[in-house]
Amino acid sequence: MYPDNYYSSTFTLLAAAEVGKHFYWNIAGFLVHGQVLVVIWFVVAILLLFSILGTSNADRIPHGWQNFMESAIDFVTDIAKNQLGESFYREWVPFIGTLFLFIFGSNWAGAVVPWKLIELPEGEFAAPTNDINTTVALALLTSFAYFYAGLSKKGLGYFKRYVQPIPLLLPINILEDFTKPLSLSFRLFGNVLADELTITVLTALVPLVIPLPIMLLGIFAGSVQALIFSTLAAAYIAEALE
């Protein structure tokens, strides 16, 4: 399916950044990027563990993990409430919250966990969001979500917004449906990959101390990107609902 020389290896010699090299698994005739799936399962397991710890023996007066998880839920609820408004936000909290927590967990799993200690035959473990397939999947989910939101609220009248304010804007309005997922996915993918590449190149040049501030910046940027993605998803859904 993929030719061997599809990716040029000419430019990968400087740093050991393995862009475009993957640990392929062959599942039912499809080649999948195994390293991405493994890290995604890791993130999902961590999130599950946190939520189980937070909800097992839940108390009226929260303490320990329950306290922490409640503040996390408050945070994602605020993201949804700020964009969608008081009357619609409740049913979208699960979607927006999952997006935020998953992207946040993925970015931090790539930045915090020392994956380089585990050797793979090809490719390397990293944040799942540095693979364009993951981010495109998330962006397309967002697209489906806002179409669903608009159609379920207004029925076919939802498509009236394509000819508003004037029918002349029809092509631009249709184009917008394609640029939304495109920009969402490229923003997340580019930011995460850029952080990792910067760290790799800096580490190849100066291995000690110098990359540390960039790593901290990477951790910070990871959380900001998660916030941005979920805020934008909520804003798109709000736009479809209004």
Binding site: Y6, Y7, S8, T10, F11, T12, V19, G20, S183, F186, R187, F189, G190, N191, L193, A194, L197, A221, V224, Q225, L227, I228, T231
Partner: protein
């Protein structure tokens, strides 16, 4: 890969990052300057201003990142090689 194509790809990758950094650089400078002005005028609003500033900076950063994506596509997944 043809050497002309690889040379052109490297130059284009550099240009795509460099040119894409100009506009967001100016924009981020403006936004940060205005935010500092706002904080100086109203120090109690600092937290709110910081949140909005970070969010809008990340949006502007996305424009440079698009340049980066083009550069990465040219270097690592060149369609003409």
């Amino acid at each position: 890969m043809d050497s002309i194509i690889s040379a052109a790809s490297v130059i284009a990758a550099g240009l795509s990052i460099g040119l894409a950094a100009i506009g967001p650089g100016i924009g981020q400078g403006n936004a940060a300057g205005q935010a500092v002005e706002g904080i100086a005028r109203q120090p109690e609003a600092e937290n709110k201003i910081r949140g909005t500033l970070l969010l809008s900076l990340a949006f502007m950063e996305a424009l440079t990142i698009y340049g980066l994506v083009v550069a990465l596509a040219l270097l690592f997944a060149n369609p003409f090689s």
